[in-house]
């Protein structure tokens, strides 16, 4: 009776709203709003809508029983991903106050939604999705959902399973096909963290639906939802449900900010906030010197070039740090580092303009050789005449591409007119930021500090390098334990992490000898020995094949390492291992914004397997990636999480600064760190070192 009256109310509301649609004809949400769990949806239930590619939302939702922190990203127009931490306010993290104090229960979850059919004039949009499919599964659900819009009204109908199907208001249609779908298996697959394929679309099913109405007042949207959950099996306990109808108002406070207020189950008020941006469009205003104007009359052949002045101008106006320079009657060869303009065309145009304005007109070729760690990686040859024609717009349809050619560096006479010593002492300072979510002591643990690094470069092939880790701000002293009490059949190759980072004192990050060289064309070699990373010391070598502008690269690394002592930076523990991988890097032509890495080999715990890492680059330069390692260690042996997986965001520094920059920074998120599938964190990687040969982070 309660259900039928709710459906009646929903139907009445639909008619009511449809009536007002006739009076208004404005509806075009620049972005669809988020549901309580994160991801595009109504209040509790997801819809078949997708925001535009690159749309990123950070959401917080609050109600009596739950708090949800989530981030949601539309990776592709047909795929949305959401990651979420849930705070169950009615439960404690553990029954042991000495372990987790009075912290409430936390759970993480990952959702994914795929568009199967795009809306057309008569057919609705169709999507299928999986909620909380990779964690402990507190909200584990699958859904098939339809969305159809008519003017200001966006209407949704879905079929939920699992958490979203708890009310069982309809017979599971798959149950008619196979009895296996009639009941939903309980428990976790493995030790949690595994995709529960065996549960998909099984057990009770329920219909849900609702509408989102764009009011004539543009910032305000209203939502009405018929809920498919009965809240009898919630982790927070049995939740009283006075009504199956949930309502919400979403107020768009600014272009990037949504505020929402909702009324759930006929008895609970909730509220939330969503901040959103788009990774494709995000940009930063830049303050940079104006590009040079190429004069109508180029400098005469007799013009004397002040090379020191040219160095300074290249550095100040183009961000190009010159190491070697050679001016011949008809060409100039410059070797150096590009440090400012990460967009290649902008860098080359600025560089070409400056050289055209400063060098004699007899110089017909600018050979720009970009270095990485003192090794020439790529040569860009600029045809001066064509470039000047482009820069001065002497032809309407001239383009930069017509004047430049990237190639394998060709040998040069090393009789440099000006050169910078490539040996000597160096020092630099980096920052670091370690964070961990969902810990028993406190939800958020962090350590922020600096990594002063220094070294001595003997020549372009040999160097000795070292770095310290100095914590400045940390709450790691809240640790209530160091090594977890979970029994492990694997060697503890990473789960001693707290032992290493616990102390708020200075620690040695690495000290190592490095040798590298270009073996033959397209092949690079690297060897290193010493304290390689915070947990391991030893020696290793890598060989990489990477032609200029090739979409494919292949590398192999082998290492023999010993686990470092927790306290004494130069002492080692008993554990030793030979580890290494063969890695293929592929940037598919059809998906130019994807980089796929596949590594096969032996990991630190002596397990063997494969790691697949997929990274997607957005137009702004932000890269979002995910990886998973599957080895010959079973889920039970592995422990919580069942296998190693992680996510990362790479941001260009450029987005946070008004000054142009080529650097990037990474923000990793590893749901849980165990010992299986863990590679050595090598201090130098040839693929990173040779990035300029086929840039992906452009």
């Amino acid at each position: 009776m309660k259900q039928s009256s709710s459906l009646y109310l929903l139907g009445s509301a639909l008619l009511c709203l449809a009536g007002s649609v006739m009076a208004s004809d404005e509806f075009a949400p620049p972005a669809f709003s988020q549901m309580n769990h994160g991801g595009v949806g109504l209040i509790q239930t997801p819809t078949a809508r997708f925001n535009s590619e690159g749309e990123f939302s950070i959401n917080y939702q609050d109600s009596d029983e739950y708090r949800f922190w989530s981030v949601s990203l539309t990776l592709f127009p047909w795929m949305e991903t959401t990651m979420r931490y849930s705070d169950i306010r009615t439960l404690l993290y553990s029954s042991d106050p000495g372990f987790s104090g009075d912290q409430t229960f936390k759970d993480k979850g990952i959702d994914v939604k795929f568009r199967l059919w795009q809306e057309s004039a008569y057919l609705p949009q169709l999507a299928v999705g999986f909620r909380d499919f990779g964690g402990t599964g507190l909200f584990e659900s699958e859904f098939i959902t339809l969305s159809k819009r008519w003017q200001n009204l966006d209407m949704h109908l879905g079929l939920g399973f699992g958490y979203l199907g708890n009310s069982g208001n309809i017979a599971n249609p798959f149950c008619k096909v196979s009895d296996a779908y009639c009941t939903r298996p309980g428990g976790l697959d493995g030790k949690g963290g595994q995709v529960s394929f065996g549960k998909f679309f099984k057990g009770p099913a329920a219909l849900y639906g609702g509408v989102e109405y764009q009011t004539p007042w543009q910032p305000l949207r209203l939502k009405l939802e018929y809920d498919s959950n009965n809240y009898l099996k919630d982790k927070a306990g049995v939740l009283l449900q006075d009504s199956r109808l949930n309502v919400a108002a979403v107020y768009r406070a600014s272009e990037n900010l949504d505020l929402n207020l909702n009324y759930q189950r006929g008895n609970t008020v909730g509220f939330g906030v969503s901040y959103r941006t788009n990774f494709d469009n995000v940009e930063q205003i830049k303050i940079a010197p104006a590009p040079r104007v190429v004069p109508e009359q180029l400098p005469a052949a007799s013009t004397k070039v002040e090379s020191t002045m040219l160095y300074q101008q290249l550095r100040a106006e183009v961000g190009f740090v010159v190491i070697n320079y050679q001016l011949q009657p008809n060409e100039v060869i410059i070797e150096g580092y590009s440090t400012a303009f990460r967009h290649r065309d902008e860098f080359l145009e600025r560089l070409g303009r400056l050289l055209a304005a400063e060098l004699p007109e007899t110089v017909k070729r600018y050979r720009i050789r970009e270095l990485s760690d003192d090794t020439v990686m790529v040569e860009t040859v600029i045809d001066a005449e064509k470039f000047v024609s482009f820069a001065r717009r002497d032809e309407i349809d001239a383009t930069l591409a017509q004047s430049i050619q990237r190639q394998e560096p060709t040998p040069v006479n090393t009789d440099w007119q000006l050169t910078t010593e490539n040996s000597g002492y160096y020092q630099q300072m980096d920052g670091y930021w370690i964070q961990s979510f969902g810990n028993p002591e406190t939800f958020y643990l962090y350590q922020i500090g600096v990594v002063p690094a220094a070294g001595y470069v003997f020549n372009k092939n040999f160097s000795v390098n070292g770095a310290l880790r100095i914590p400045l701000l940390t709450n790691f002293d809240d640790f209530t334990f160091t090594v977890d009490a979970i029994p492990s059949t694997l060697p503890r190759v990473r789960t001693y992490v707290r032992e290493y980072v616990e102390a708020d004192t200075v620690s040695v990050e690495n000290i190592y000898l490095q040798a590298k060289t270009q073996l033959v064309q397209d092949w690079y070699g690297l060897a290193y020995a010493g304290l390689l990373e915070s947990m391991y010391t030893g020696a290793g070598a890598e060989v990489l094949y990477r032609p200029v502008d090739s979409r494919l690269a292949v590398g192999i690394d082998v290492n023999y390492v010993a686990q470092r002592d927790f306290e004494d930076p130069f002492a080692v523990r008993d554990y030793r291992v030979a580890t290494g991988h063969v890695t293929a890097y592929w940037n598919p032509e059809m998906f130019d914004d994807l980089l796929v890495k596949v590594s096969v080999g032996r990991y630190l715990a002596k397990d063997k397997g494969v790691t697949i890492d997929i990274a997607k680059r957005f137009d702004s330069g932000i890269v979002v990636g995910a990886y998973a390692a599957k080895t010959n260690v079973s889920a039970v042996e592995y422990g919580e999480g069942s296998f190693t997986k992680g996510f990362y965001l790479n941001f260009p520094f450029d987005l946070f600064s008004a000054t142009p920059s080529t650097g990037t920074t990474s923000l990793p998120w590893v749901p849980i760190t165990r010992d299986g599938g863990q590679p050595l964190s090598r201090p130098v990687k040839l693929y990173d070192l040779t990035e300029v040969r086929a840039p992906f982070l452009k």
Partner: protein
């Protein structure tokens, strides 16, 4: 006819002045039916300064077109194909006089269009003064310069020809399409001087709030029922012609 007299006279004067045949004048630019010849390839800023004497020119809608015979020949061939397909549609619609009349009007208007190849260049005399990329040197050839005062209309082109509506600030594209009552499509093509042609949704189920600039043309494709079976390329060909249509 008068256009050709002006052309002839202007070119004659140029010949007299330079003692050089017209074919040897590297750059010829037509503006408001007057031809100007340049013996040295000029930069666009020079052309604008010398030729555009109007005040209150609406530069965002100004365009430069190439009148090179090779490009025009291709366009005329496309136009011939479009006109022929419309002629066949008119014959097929003999039992529907209203439809036949609308097709006839569409055909007649397309036949009257002046076609030229737009040059990908933002015209702005102020920017041209200070930025090299806005002040290119014209390549050898013949050009048509279109630069006038701001128009106050938006036009919708589709079956039955072109309709004009007063432009209103913040009024979305779909509202103009709705105003052209007998036209319907899920998406229309938007043509403006500032941006490349783009397809935008305008139906009740997919429309977006796309505010459009004055002078914009919205092309409502001929319905699939009319063209899909026999003339699947017709809408695409009309779109090509619209990209190259010189505003009258």
């Amino acid at each position: 006819m008068s256009k050709w007299i002006v052309l002839t006279l202007t070119v004659f004067c140029l010949k007299l002045a330079a003692q050089q045949p017209v074919s040897e004048i590297p750059v010829l630019v037509q503006y408001q039916q007057q031809w100007q010849g340049y013996f040295e390839r000029p930069r666009i800023q020079t052309v604008l300064a010398q030729q555009v004497k109007l005040t209150n020119v609406h530069w965002p809608s100004a365009r430069l077109y190439s009148l090179e015979p090779e490009a025009l020949a291709d366009l005329e061939q496309t136009r011939s194909q479009v006109l022929e397909q419309l002629r066949l549609l008119i014959i097929a619609a003999a039992k529907e006089p209203q439809l036949a009349m609308q097709l006839q009007e569409t055909r007649q208007q397309i036949a009257r269009w002046q076609l030229a190849k737009p040059v990908a260049l933002e015209l702005n005399p102020n920017l041209a003064l200070v930025r090299q990329q806005h002040n290119p040197k014209l390549s050898k050839g013949q050009y048509l310069l279109v630069a006038g005062k701001r128009v106050s209309t938006v036009s919708v082109f589709g079956l039955g020809g072109e309709r004009f509506f007063m432009h209103e600030q913040q009024r979305p594209a779909y509202a103009y399409v709705q105003q052209a009552t007998e036209l319907y499509s899920d998406t229309v093509w938007l043509f403006s001087a500032q941006k490349p042609a783009r397809e935008i949704p305008v139906a009740a189920w997919n429309r977006t709030e796309t505010a459009i600039a004055t002078g914009t043309l919205l092309f409502v494709p001929l319905t699939d029922a009319l063209v899909e079976q026999d003339f699947p390329e017709l809408n695409q060909q009309i779109k090509t012609l619209l990209v190259h249509r010189v505003p009258s």
